[in-house]
């Protein structure tokens, strides 16, 4: 094969691979010009927040930032300097950032509490059971799941009866075509989002899920934590729908993933932390 054929083959192969390489769904939606499919509805008029009957797929919740308007960030997001940190919380965030996530509990396989639930690999499905007045968010990340109580008039337990947990006590309702989820009762053993934004046991999240079209979910969250922030603040991002498996093979199904299966990183983290002493 002469050099001309070799060069043409290499270029063609490179371009073919580049064109068919995994593409961030949100980026694809933002720039592709493809017409989005409309939001699907159930026969009773509720928004279908998951796959339409007969179809498969899941929400790719790998990326998202609660501040900043770049990428998939909402146009209403605050910039970092506008976040109403209390001084200690800002200092803690900057400390966590300086250590490049060395102290991140999720890196040691602890559950992804708070908004972190929506910034982890391995996909997310939403199971709506109106006949049972409940909804489940099922994450492929360690098969974590959240239960959203949907009984009309449901209230949170009294504070002194709440066991602080990673995912808290969630109550949900519909406001038109937006699912609203109100959660309290968090423990402090997780980072509530990638990067280490601090929170305390006073954390109260109000999450709003709006399916803008078949392939895009608008996730907006109000963070109300009197222990870490001087006032409530709001941010969010767009979450893309994915119709291939997480390894990009055909299927559109969440597969098993457990962080603790062969986790080796924490031993390295411990060595580095011990070396600091």
């Amino acid at each position: 094969m002469n050099m001309r054929k070799i060069s043409q083959t290499v270029v063609a192969a490179g371009l073919a691979l580049a064109l068919h390489a995994p593409v961030d769904a949100a980026a694809r939606q933002a720039g592709s010009g493809d017409e989005a499919r409309p939001t699907p509805f159930w026969s009773d008029g509720r928004v279908n927040l998951d796959a339409a009957p007969g179809e498969k797929g899941f929400w790719n919740v790998m990326r998202g930032s609660v501040f900043g308007t770049g990428g998939t960030g909402l146009e209403t997001n605050l910039e970092f300097d506008e976040i109403p940190f209390q001084d200690w919380a800002r200092d803690l965030y900057e400390y966590r950032q300086s250590r490049n996530g060395l102290d991140d509990p999720h890196a040691r396989c602890f559950p992804a509490g708070g908004m972190r639930f929506f910034t982890v690999p391995n996909g997310l499905n939403i199971v709506d059971q109106p006949e049972m007045n409940r909804m489940f968010f099922i994450s492929g990340e360690n098969r974590d799941w959240r239960r959203i109580a949907m009984e009309p008039g449901r209230e949170h337990p009294p504070e002194d009866e709440l066991l602080p947990t990673y995912f808290g006590d969630s109550i949900g309702w519909w406001e038109g075509e937006t699912l609203v989820v109100d959660t309290v009762g968090f423990n402090e053993r997780f980072w509530m989002i990638r990067g280490g934004m601090p929170h305390t046991r006073f954390l109260h999240l109000t999450e709003r899920f709006t399916r803008l079209d078949y392939d895009t979910m608008r996730y907006e969250v109000t963070i109300d934590d009197k222990g870490a922030y001087t006032e409530p603040w709001t941010g969010g991002w767009l979450i893309p729908w994915q119709t291939v498996n997480y390894d990009n093979s055909e299927g559109g199904e969440i597969h098993e993933y457990f962080c603790g299966d062969n986790e080796r990183d924490s031993a390295q983290f411990d060595i580095l932390i011990e070396a600091e002493r």
Binding site: N100, P121, N122, G195, D247, C259, N262, Q268, I271
Partner: protein
């Protein structure tokens, strides 16, 4: 104006270079991780290791494989651990469970662990037997 021979040669090699860069860019594209790369690995300590595979752990959250590497200074054989992405992630790059077998000689490009142990995060793996090069699903350059 017809390009001369030297210009044509530069164009040919330029096309080849572009193609190789395009392929390499796809194969070693940084992929998502559940934790920060830079907390554990030092981008200022690149490594290039050649050795025979002694073990493969095809498991979450990271695939690990181990190779015996001859330390040219000491003359001793050292067993290095190499970390790749999760199975689902590296399968996008063409990996399968049986892509690498015990005894296969491989060349690994990667980044050494900050701890100083015989551990590195692999960026790419090249099979000595056929020259096939696969990206390792490294999360280097990915914002945690």
């Amino acid at each position: 104006m017809v390009p001369g021979d030297s210009t044509m040669k530069r164009l040919k090699y330029g096309f080849v270079a572009v193609g190789i860069v395009a392929i390499a860019g796809v194969l070693v594209a940084p992929l998502a991780a559940h934790h920060s790369f830079s907390a554990q690995y030092d981008s200022n300590q690149p490594v290039s290791l050649r050795g025979a595979v002694t073990k493969v752990e095809w498991m979450n959250p990271h695939v690990y494989f181990y190779i015996d590497v001859r330390n040219e200074e000491s003359g001793r054989t050292e067993n290095w651990a190499l970390e790749m992405g999760a199975p689902a992630v590296i399968q996008r790059n063409g990996w399968r469970q049986n892509t690498m077998k015990i005894g296969d000689v491989v060349l690994v490009e990667g980044t050494r662990a900050r701890s100083g142990e015989l551990l590195a995060n692999a960026r790419s793996v090249t099979m000595a037997s056929n020259g096939e090069r696969l990206g390792a699903g490294s999360s280097e350059n990915v914002t945690p």
